[in-house]
Structure formats: structure tokens, C-alpha cells
């Protein structure tokens, strides 16, 4: 049995054998700047971090095990709880996978697709607003946090209007939607866009170009592109290192090929390429792009794919998901990166053999020991905040 416990013994030896000037500090699980229940075991020498050992699992809710004990439709609420800040995007990815296996992905009405993209992009803005706001508060800027939460509240209210729930929506279903958008949603969404655009300019003035903020984030935790790829980083993490990799464009799923938007990448404007400021800035720019996508969706939804009395958002929802035995890996661009689901289906039952969720936060977090070594403890907070993890997805 010793071979199987060798890793654990080595870890214990490492902690026991620190030198007299080194100290082990536990950051978390109840540390506010870990954005959840994450425990970082730091080996420090004075203020300098020598090594970081992350301990995960405090929020492990057995997604994989749940998913293989119930049918596909019942799993959708569980996907909402992976990255609970972007539930729409999670269920969109999951549902796309099942639809492609059912071969109904191309038959979906355009209105359904546009509504999906609309709510996903709204949710992306909400998720990025949390990332930006909490990042500000991590390093001492309190006001942006309040502003971001104020604006996010409008999105929460709108999505609650559409789905009946504030954060965990269960709105996107296999083969369609829970309901059509409520009457008047498009107009209210348009109002929100008009309200939100000047707020973004204010946010830029307050935080992005704030000298204190720049001093705390520029040149800190620079992540070279090759390291980012090797560690499986995706989403804003990877793009901040200068790589134009956005699955909305690469895979061109749903109606994204019909929409016009840019992919912001890090440029090292304030310091080194791929530093904390770049990661922050990519998120701010992505919010602006999402606003552009929302405007286009609203336009199409009001002109080309209007609400009609015979439109049934549940028209293609299968009574029972009947799949032949196969494997499929679906991936989609979530606010935090590539969310993937690996399905292994079984013949003659609508319960899968295996569903593995690949959480972007899990992979993005794994680069933290590499980034944090040799940094000051205070900078480690800045680095961790810039990764933007959600523990619901790290632990699943």
C-alpha cells in the first residue's frame, strides 16, 4: 500500500522539514480574499512566499456522481451550481452537448438560440462585474465593488423575471427553453443597456486608470503564454497572456458566428504582458463586447425573430432523451474559461454512465503555485483575485 500513500508522506515531510526562518501560514478556508472556501498553505520566509500548497474540496458536492444517477434533464439544475455566478452559461454548455448527441442542435428555432445567447451574455456581464468588483475590494478599492453590485442587481432582476430565480435559473433546457422571454423583456433590456454604457466609462475612470490600482497590479504575477497553455488556463487568463483563443469564435457554436464582436487580448499596456492588470482589463473589455452582442441580439429578437403566438420554446424538448451508446466532449466559452462536459452515454437508458465536468477555475487555479512563488504575501492576494476563481467550480 505504501506506493499509493507516497505522495501524502512526501507532502507531510515537506511541511515538517521547513527551516527555522520559514513559517507555514494557512490562508483560508475562511479568508475573505479567497472568494470562497479555498485553503492555501503558504511556506513563507518573512513576507516572501516560498511555496504554495492549495487545498481544495471544501465545497465538493459530487457533481459527477449525481449526474450519473439521474437523467439529463434533471442534471441541468446541478450544472447551475458549478459556477454559480454564470449559471446560464453552464447549462448552455451542458444542453448543447446533449443536443448534439441527439442531433437536434441544427433544428432549434433561431429565436431560441438568440434568447440563449442573450441571457448567457447578460450572465457573462454579471459574472465579470463580480470579478471586477471583488478584485477592487481585494486590494482596497471599495467603491467599484458597490457600483458593480448595483449594476449586477439589474441583471439579476431581469433574469429572475425570465426564469423565476435570481441566481440558479434552470432556464435553458435540452431542446429549448423553460419559457419564452416575458412580454416587455426586450424593451427593458434595451433600457438597461442604455443605462449601463455610461457606467462602464465611470468604472474605467474610477478603477482601470487609477494610479494606486495600477501600482498594485501592473507587473505583478505576469503569466507567459506558454506557461498558461501548459497549465490548461483558458478564458480571460489565457487571453490576457496575448493569445486570441475564444471558443465562441473557434468553435462558432450557437449563433455566435452571426454576431459581430471583438476578442480582447492583453497587450501589457501598464507593465508586462499577462500581468494582473491585463487580466483585469481583458474582463472589462469583454463586458463591453458582451454589451455589443446583447444589442445585436435584441435587434434580431425584435425584428427578425419576433415573438409569435405559435412559437413554442419547448417544441423540441424530448420526452425522454434516447441516445445510443457513445462518447462526446462538449466545450463552451464561459466567463471564466473553457467549460467542458465529457459524456459517456448508455444504450436503452437516459442515465449516462459518466459525466465529467471540466471546470475552467480548476485549471486556472492550478497555475497559482507557479505564479505566486517568490512574491510578497500582499501580491499573492492580487494574483489570486486576478485569476477570478469560483469555488463551486473548482470543487464541483
Amino acid at each position: 500500500m505504501t506506493r499509493y500513500t507516497e505522495g501524502l508522506e512526501n507532502y507531510k515531510k515537506k511541511i515538517a522539514s521547513i527551516t527555522s526562518q520559514e513559517m507555514v501560514i494557512n490562508m483560508g478556508p475562511q479568508h475573505p480574499s479567497t472568494h470562497g472556501v479555498l485553503r492555501l498553505e503558504l511556506i513563507t520566509d518573512g513576507e516572501v512566499v516560498k511555496d504554495i500548497i492549495p487545498h481544495l474540496g471544501y465545497l465538493h458536492r459530487c457533481f459527477d456522481k449525481h449526474a450519473e444517477s439521474m437523467n439529463y434533464g434533471k442534471t441541468i439544475p446541478f450544472t447551475d451550481r458549478l459556477d454559480y455566478l454564470s449559471s446560464m452559461n453552464n447549462s448552455h454548455a451542458f444542453v448543447m452537448g446533449v443536443e448534439r448527441m441527439l442531433k437536434i442542435a441544427d433544428k432549434l428555432p433561431k429565436r431560441v438560440e438568440y434568447i440563449r445567447v442573450l441571457v448567457c451574455e447578460l450572465n457573462r456581464i454579471a459574472s465579470h462585474l463580480i470579478a471586477i468588483g471583488t478584485y477592487g475590494i481585494d486590494i482596497g478599492a471599495f467603491t467599484p465593488f458597490m457600483w458593480c453590485f448595483r449594476d449586477r442587481e439589474h441583471i439579476m432582476n431581469m433574469l429572475e423575471w425570465a426564469s423565476g430565480s435570481r441566481m440558479l435559473y434552470n432556464y435553458i433546457w435540452v431542446g429549448g427553453l423553460f419559457y419564452d422571454l416575458p412580454v416587455g423583456f426586450e424593451a427593458r433590456c434595451q433600457e438597461f443597456v442604455e443605462y449601463f454604457k455610461p457606467k462602464l466609462v465611470e468604472l474605467d475612470d474610477l478603477l482601470s486608470n487609477n494610479q494606486i490600482f495600477i501600482s498594485r497590479t501592473a507587473n505583478i504575477g505576469a503569466l507567459p503564454a506558454d506557461v498558461a497553455i501548459n497549465y490548461g488556463c483558458s478564458g480571460p487568463m489565457l487571453r490576457a497572456s496575448g493569445i486570441k483563443w475564444d471558443l465562441r469564435r473557434v468553435d462558432g457554436y450557437s449563433v455566435y458566428p452571426e454576431l459581430d464582436f471583438e476578442i480582447p487580448v492583453g497587450k501589457g499596456e501598464m507593465g508586462t504582458l499577462g500581468d494582473c492588470w491585463d487580466r483585469y482589463k481583458v474582463r472589462v473589455d469583454e463586458v463591453k463586447e458582451s454589451v455589443k452582442i446583447i444589442e445585436q441580439c435584441l435587434q434580431r429578437l425584435q425584428l427578425d425573430f419576433k415573438r409569435t403566438p405559435d412559437f413554442d420554446p419547448r417544441g423540441l424538448v424530448p420526452k425522454k432523451v434516447n441516445l445510443k451508446a457513445q462518447e462526446y466532449y462538449v466545450r463552451a466559452e464561459n466567463p471564466k474559461g473553457e467549460l467542458g462536459f465529457h459524456f459517456i452515454t448508455q444504450e436503452k437508458t437516459d442515465v449516462p454512465r459518466r459525466v465529467k465536468a471540466r471546470g475552467p477555475s480548476f485549471n486556472n487555479l492550478s497555475v497559482l503555485p507557479e505564479l505566486g512563488k517568490g512574491q510578497l504575501i500582499a501580491d499573492l492576494i492580487a494574483i489570486l483575485g486576478s485569476i477570478d476563481i469560483v469555488l463551486g467550480e473548482v470543487d464541483r
Partner: protein, 163 residues
Amino acid sequence: MITKVKDLIIANIGEQAIVRVEEEHLQPILVLQAESLVEIAFLLRDTAGYYFDFLSNISAVDYHPDARFAVVYHLASIPYQTQLTLKVEVENDRRSDNLPEVPSVASVWRTAEWHEREAFDLMGVFFTGHPDLRRILLPDDWQGYPLRKDYEDAETYHGIAIK
């Protein structure tokens, strides 16, 4: 794509490295021999025209009631925007002192380190050559591997009845 990859492996490593190609899925799967996995991984990552530099996901699969486990690797190439699925299958009798063994690819893609720890933690697949193989999501003193189909939850935890 899959035939190109297959030809590349046959040319550089040999025909014995490939067990079979499963074409019936939406994404074809290349089933490989466990022994030559690391060599193939380096080949796929570093050969011009392929460059599978991004490891999306590793998932371990239990084929209960068969005495068989599999580890599935989902690769992506960022320069060429392609995808590839690899699979390694291992026979195993499910005894707790005889875990299925697969060579670790953590030296090829660092992200595999955490993915393999998760597979070890939940499915009980032992990755030989892994730099730091210990449980990641469950506590260090957990007994058994919960994602196995024949897993039964423990009666007690640290002497406390939990059922």
C-alpha cells in the same frame, strides 16, 4: 485528422502502440497502449503540423461490471484549432491493494497534475511517475474511491457512525 495522427504514431513509434480507432462517436477516439502513452504525448505536443499543446480534460471511467477502467484525454491544438481524443484502457480486478496503473502525463502538460490527482482521488487510478499524487477533493484519510460504480459508503468515519 484522426488518420493523420494514426499515421504519425505508426511512423514514429510503431503499430503496436495503437489498440484501435473508435469511429462511431461524434469525435473519433484513438485507443492507445498504456506503455507508450508518454512517448506519444510528447510526439503529439511537439510535432509541427499537430502541436496538441492544450490538454482540456482527463476523465477516468469505470466500466463496471467489466473488470476494466479507462482514462480519456481530451486534447486541443491552439495554433491549428483542432481537437483529439485519446484513450487508455486497463484491466483491473478492483482490489484495493491493486489499483489500475497508467503512466502520468504531468511531465508533458502540467495541467495533468491536478486532473490526475482528481482521477486518483475519485476513481482510484494510480498514475506512475506523478510528482505529487495524493487526494485533492476528498480528505486525505478517506477510504475508497467514490466514483467507482461498486463503491459503498462507509459505516463509520473516525469511529463515528454516519449511516
